[in-house]
Symmetry: C3
Subunit: 255 residues, 3 copies
């Protein structure tokens, strides 16, 4: 059984402690690192990883997500059973985009520490799920989970309107605007577009991939998950534009 890990632990040894716990409880589990490079406490970035990476894993995989600024405080821990996967982690928005939910359980395990539920609660729960234990053995079922309020992208008054979902490790600015909406707004590869962002207006080309822009040039493209992305070829758009997630974006073709 595959257990994936997504955390903001960086290069720290705390990842190793989680792996040790999982392998001690479920020796046959295969622990796979998705990333430990979520920016510290960036719940929004974690939510995007859950949305964009977890679905590539085989059905039955158990996805553990530990981006947990509120560890030890009142925030709940949850385990979620969906049609395809299990998810385990803090109920703080990291599971915003999880769909096809069958059951959610609020985790009621005793933790050895108040500061490391990744090791003391989430890892053991994942391992026991890998061993075939039923999700209801970890606590009471609850009705719903915390989801970040993210309005769907739409076309309005000639503009495609959405928001910055998050910034990836490379500084690419990922929006929630799907390619289909661009097509509807008649924005095509090679066009120049106008982008309104936090009171600024920028112009840039809409291109098929990073390498079609000059190094250092700002561009828009459709990212690997099918959403509009603002990037700098071989550079960091998030720093150039001072963005970090949550900002409103409006786009139109330059007429």
């Amino acid at each position: 059984m595959i257990v994936t890990l997504t955390t903001d632990f960086g290069a720290s040894e705390y990842v190793g402690a989680m792996k040790g716990v999982i392998l001690s409880i479920a020796p046959e589990a295969r622990v796979v690192d998705i990333t430990h490079g979520i920016r510290s406490f960036d719940v929004r970035h974690a939510a995007y990883v859950v949305k964009s990476v977890c679905p590539y894993f085989p059905s039955g995989s158990i996805h553990v997500v530990v981006v947990d600024p509120g560890v030890g405080t009142a925030r709940r821990g949850v385990a979620i059973e969906t049609r395809d996967y299990y998810y385990v982690g803090p109920d703080n928005g990291v599971f915003t985009f999880v769909r096809n939910i069958k059951r959610v359980v609020e985790l009621k395990l005793e933790a050895k520490s108040k500061t490391f539920h990744g090791r003391d609660i989430f890892a053991p729960v994942a391992a026991r799920l890998a061993n075939g234990e039923d999700i209801t053995s970890f606590g009471e079922e609850v009705e719903d989970i915390v989801r970040l309020p993210i309005a769907e992208a739409r076309i309005s008054k000639g503009f495609v309107t959405g928001e910055v979902l998050c910034v990836d490790v490379f500084g690419n600015v990922i929006t929630n605007i799907p390619q289909s909406l661009l097509t509807k707004a008649n924005i095509n590869y090679g066009d120049r577009i106008r982008v309104k962002l936090e009171g600024r207006e920028l112009e840039m080309p809409f291109l098929e991939s990073y390498g079609f822009a000059s190094p250092g040039e700002l561009l828009a493209l459709v990212g690997s998950e099918g959403y509009l992305e603002i990037a700098v070829n071989q550079g960091r758009a998030s720093e150039r534009l001072s963005l970090k997630g949550g900002e409103k974006v409006e786009i139109c073709a330059v007429c």
Copy 2:
């Protein structure tokens, strides 16, 4: 058989070379990264990881530790058999906290290089241990290993006295003061404490977890291994206080 890796190799490809060597000798071994994020040459940090993470792994695991500023010089390489685990690495203090030792062997293998014993000596030894080879096939037994001189924490003249064990990747300052000593000194969650550090005196709250302090606020807490830790919520205490390990710490409740 599980072979864990703890190094200061960072994101480098040298980790990959060790994995290739291990899997070539012991194809069935499961290589698990604990961390490659030990600060360069920080033997003290490595010792703390060995103490605080290795025990979470299943009995029989083989722990390879390569933090080795003296590679190629006269420092010994060792393999250690304990009640629960094997440890392999340089004998420079990284195994300071290893207990229940049954046998220690000084490694006497020929290395292809003078600069990368992780790949040329420690990885092959770990792989051969994983294959069931006896520890004595790698060299002569020796009596003891190098241990860093770390005085035990104690209560003295109304102060709890200890030292900074190390700084973790997040800049949290981990001391060797166990929670039991705080309890004995009548220091409880919610108290304000006075901390003497390198000639400075600081006051901070003693709280249950990071999230009970405001972002940017200095706090003391009991870390995930049960030792007093000085931290900044969502920040780096080590930089705020210019600490890196080894400093003396004295603590009392603010009266």
Copy 3:
């Protein structure tokens, strides 16, 4: 079957997506990270990793390399079958040092995205090779691959002449000058050597390992692959000397 990953994805979640794809197609594959710390777009560094790390893996391993500044543009993707391994990645020089080639195939798969062929093309090809599929099922055979132009090191007019192959993660400057050429030029451990680099002349000792120099001291040594390396003990030679790969190097003993 072992599938290794070498990328410049750093701590990003994109690595996780590749692993998910591989494990979905080839559930029995063992995915091993060599490194994700190749400097962004540093094809030369990737080529050196392929040369110096891949050969430590068991015969039959499938090596995926994704350092791909031209993704989505006209550069080819290739799969290479050699006597010992398979290699999969962009044909941009990362396979410069691959030898014993039996067949090269230009990859002709449809990609879901234009920006992430690591996930959409290279990972599936590697997984299908792991499943035993023949290399010719992925496209037409082609004659040759792109190789970076790197002149062999030689002795000329009393100087050993070579070039900087690349800079590793620690800032060590790795040249293409083999130890045998140094021996031929009568340069021995303990000698002081003169190094001409980009119009500058430097003197430094030629020592057996980093630890024989003082911390912060510049030295030359034979690196773990048998090539001359310029380093700073516990420091970064590449920054001290402003080198990044490709520079010409000339060396002689100080008389």
